[in-house]
Each structure stands twice: as C-alpha cells, then as structure tokens.
Symmetry: C2
Subunit: 300 residues, 2 copies
C-alpha cells in the first residue's frame, strides 16, 4: 500500500452530500463554502509573470505599501521586466528577479514613468480602513498576528502599527543597505521557511497566489547569496504585466477565501486540529504561516 | 548597484584578523570558532543518497528513533533504494522516495534482512543520556524547544517527553493511516515552511545536512499530494548507502557546530538580533526552525 504523508488539497472543488458526523476536515469545509465566503482577486491588483514554464500570479497589497505598489504597477505598465531575468535563487530563502545589467549604467534598462526612488513602507499605522482579523495563536515574532483581506499580518497595539509577514510566497522589494534603496525594480518571493526576521526590514508588496512551484523548483544559484554565476543559468521573464491589461480571454480568474468570515475561523480550527484519520496527535496550535489561505480558480 | 536581500553564508570559512568593535555577526562568529566547537558527523550515522544531480547527505538521529534508524540502516546495507525513485514532490511540503512498485506485490522489491514492520517512534522519554540544550525562545507548537546533539527538538517536562521537530530538511518515515504502518522503505524530507503539525505524528529519523537544494529544486508533482503522474517525471536514485560502507576516498567529511557550546549560544543571539548593517529592525526573537545549524566540510 502506498504510504503517504497527508496533506489535504488546497485547490479542491468537490461537494459532499450529507453532513458528516465528525467536525469538518479542511477539505470538507471548503466544499461547504458559500459563494459569498470568497472574494475576487481584482485584475488591477494582479500581476502575471510569464516564465517559459508558465504563469506565476501575484496579488498586490496596496493598503500596506501604496507608494511601492504604485511604482511596481508603473514598472509593469512600461513593460520594465519583459526580457529581464530571475538572477538569484537561494535555497530555503528567496527567488529574486531584476535587470541583470543593473550594475552597468550604460546597459541597464531605463525607467520611463516609474520612479527611481521610492520610500520604504515597512509598516502602517493602525487605521480603521485597514482590517485586522486576529488569529488567536502564539507567535514567535509579533505580539499579535492575523489577516488583513487575505494577507498574513502582524500587529503591535502599543506601537500602533501593522505590517505584512514574510510567509511562504510573500513578495518584497529587494534593496541595498539603506531602507529606501529599493524602488521595486528588483523583487523577491519567499521560497523557504518563513524568514520572519525580514518583517519590518523590507517593503512587502503582496504575495504569490498561483504558480509558486514554478519559482520554488528553479535550480539554486551557487554564488554568494544564491546569485547565479553564469548568464545561462538565469530564467528569462517573458513578461510581467497587470492582469487588467491582459486580454480578458487570457486571464486566470481567481478567488480568495475571505479571512473575515466564520468559515475562515473554522478553517483555522480545522488546520490546527486535524480531524483526518491520518493524524493521531493534534497539534492544538498553529503558526500563522502554516495556514494556507485558500485560492480557487473560477470560470471566466 | 545590485540590491540584495541579505543572508550570511552558512558555509563560510574565512578568518578575521582583529576583533571587531561591534558584536560579532553570524559569519564572524563562525570564523572565530575553535576546532572543539565542532563535532564530526559519524560515517555510521550518515547516508549518501546519490542522485543524477549529485549527492544528498542525511545525518541519522538514532537516539530518537533507534528501531527505525536500525531498519533504515539495514535497508541501506541491502541496497534497498538503489534504482528506486523520488515519486512525490509536494510544493512547500515534502520530497518523498520509495519503491514505485510498492503497490504491486509481484513487482515490489523484496526485503532481505530489514524488517517489514517497525514500531512508530514518535517521541522518547526524558533520559539523562539524551541531551537537551534549551532555546530560550517562544514556540508556537511546543512547551519548550531546543537542540539535542545538533537536531532541533521539542520537550514537555510535564509529559516527560522529547521529540524531533519538522524543520526544513527533517527526514521522516512515510506511512499510511496507522502510526506503525511505515517501516522506513518510504522516506520524506521537508522542503517547505516547517510543517510542525507533523511533529509526534511521524517518526523522524534525521535530517539532510548537505544537498537540500538537489531535493528542493525538483519539479513538483501535480497528482494528489504532489505524487508524479508519469513514470518519466521521477528521479531515479542511483544509490543510497551508509557513508561507512563507501570508500573513504569517496566520502564527504562534514562537521556540525556543537549545540551544547557557548559559541552556539552566541550564534543564536547573532541570528535573533542581526548586527549586519543591512538590518535596521532587530526581530529580538527567533523561531527554532529559523536557526541554521552550521555544517562545514573538512579535509579528509
């Protein structure tokens, strides 16, 4: 018999007919969701990075980094990344893409409408217009953690701040030593154990919501910090465009399970105490970065 | 200027001449280590998994799973995995290897001296002969976490138990639903955010100490649970042998920074409050699975 290590599927769409006797497992729970439990991913907040291997989809989080997101959108609109490359893959850490000629002034790609300088946006003041749905769990790094419209965030009521977390798939702005030395031309995505020591050190602009496997399975770079040492090791980015500027027929239509709903609370419970027969020991706790935020593809 | 996202190198071997004025960074600290701060990785506790892409090295942890480790060693001695394959790569979770014909009794590989049945070894009683060096940090899942001879472990003084943690690189025994349904023929390694909900649910036999990138960069499987759907997607295992049975000239000689030393305590401090100029916000906390346990290759 095939021995498996259990993980219920994140993208599941089956229905079940009669209510089960035991508490719902995570897959049963998603199957029981109502249309209103999901929110659409807006094309104007969505980037498609087209790689030779397929499409990577990023959802932007402008409430936490408005200036940075606006510059990233401006860069996408002027086709900044088209033909540039993934230049760094550091194991258990990040994939990073940028202009390979960034350090050669005569060769590097010129900006058109996008700004050369963007302020660091490491956290935001508490603000009634930015939701925070608390996760009542311990956290190693932050006083409180939770979700804000589908993004994992931390909160400090004393400092009156919120900030996005570096969970798997988080996308941030590569920078040099000065906090404001990144303008969004160089981006990274987390491909390893949540590097939470980066929280509040780097501007996070969103997260990858589909196609993480295309980034995480890239060959690792063996130069310092995982940079590729040879040009031919890089992966060329065919294009990186806003979904709203892509022909509607070519779009991937996604929905995210709303994190301010009763069903999401049940989802958290189902993930912290797994009711599937495979689990014999219930953790009773869960790390904010170990709760996948369900995404589903819907028909156009 | 190349914008980078900073991570000090784990495998570093440079020396520095004069003591720096600021607290030592993690790389400076390793450079200041003494020979006695390191322990050898014993060939009799080391497995080499030879893939077409290179060598993956696993260190076994027999104190936490003696019966399971003994059976894995017996399997390696009878060349059980030679010619078998990596059959599952689930993104942000695990890589798993086994006999692809496991479910076909007429085709599956026969065991010679290894046992068909092994008891589950999910935790061990507190025992003076099994060290525990506490990490004075919060943890989401366990009452206490720390290290035991270079392996991340949890402890519950009330339940009088210790157990290995599912950090990045942890290697465990795939199983079906019953806790003792795995005999070591099917093994997995963690390639994503620490799936700590597996702690105490699966027998952990050790961890990958070199070559993680060869596993983590494999193409993901797109069948249920990340199993490959086509035979040709699998990676064949050339051999999986004990280092002690490999010609000494062909061995990789590794040392691990001892986790019961003052320098390891300093290492933890250097990782939780990063002194490198790149960091502007000090986390002040660190997750047990975010502290790399330094490994270095030495001359034969």
């Amino acid at each position: 018999m095939r021995n498996v290590l259990f993980l219920s599927l994140l993208y599941c769409s089956f229905a079940f007919a009669s209510p089960p006797a035991h508490p719902l497992s995570s897959s049963e729970l998603l199957a029981s969701s109502k249309p209103d439990d999901w929110r659409p991913v807006l094309p104007e907040n969505t980037l498609y990075m087209e790689l030779p291997s397929g499409r990577v989809i990023l959802e932007l989080n402008p409430k936490f980094a408005p200036e940075s997101v606006a510059n990233v959108v401006a860069l996408a609109k002027e086709n900044y990344w088209d033909g540039l490359a993934i230049i760094r893959v550091q194991d258990n850490y990040v994939v990073q893409w940028a202009d390979p000629n960034d350090e050669k002034p005569e060769l590097k790609k010129k900006l058109k409408n996008a700004s050369e300088h963007v302020n660091a946006e490491l956290d935001v003041p508490l603000n009634a217009s930015v939701p925070f749905d608390v996760l009542s769990e311990r956290d190693v790094y932050a006083r409180e953690v939770g979700y804000s419209s589908g993004f994992a965030v931390g909160r400090d009521l004393k400092a009156k701040k919120m900030w996005p977390l570096h969970c798997y798939g988080a996308v941030g702005i590569g920078r040099a030593t000065a906090p404001d030395s990144g303008n969004g031309t160089e981006l990274y995505a987390v491909i390893g154990n949540a590097p939470r020591h980066l929280d509040r050190n780097v501007t996070v602009i969103g997260r990858v919501i589909q196609g993480m496997d295309l980034l995480s399975s890239l060959p690792r770079g063996h130069g310092d910090l995982g940079f590729y040492e040879k040009t031919e090791q890089r992966t060329t980015i065919r294009s990186l465009h806003l979904a709203s500027r892509v022909d509607p027929k070519e779009r991937t239509v996604l929905e995210v399970l709303r994190t301010d709903t009763p069903i999401f609370k049940q989802w958290v419970l189902a993930r912290k105490n797994r009711t599937e027969d495979w689990f014999h020991y219930q953790a009773g706790h869960i790390d904010v970065c170990n709760i996948p935020i369900p995404i589903r593809e819907t028909k156009r």
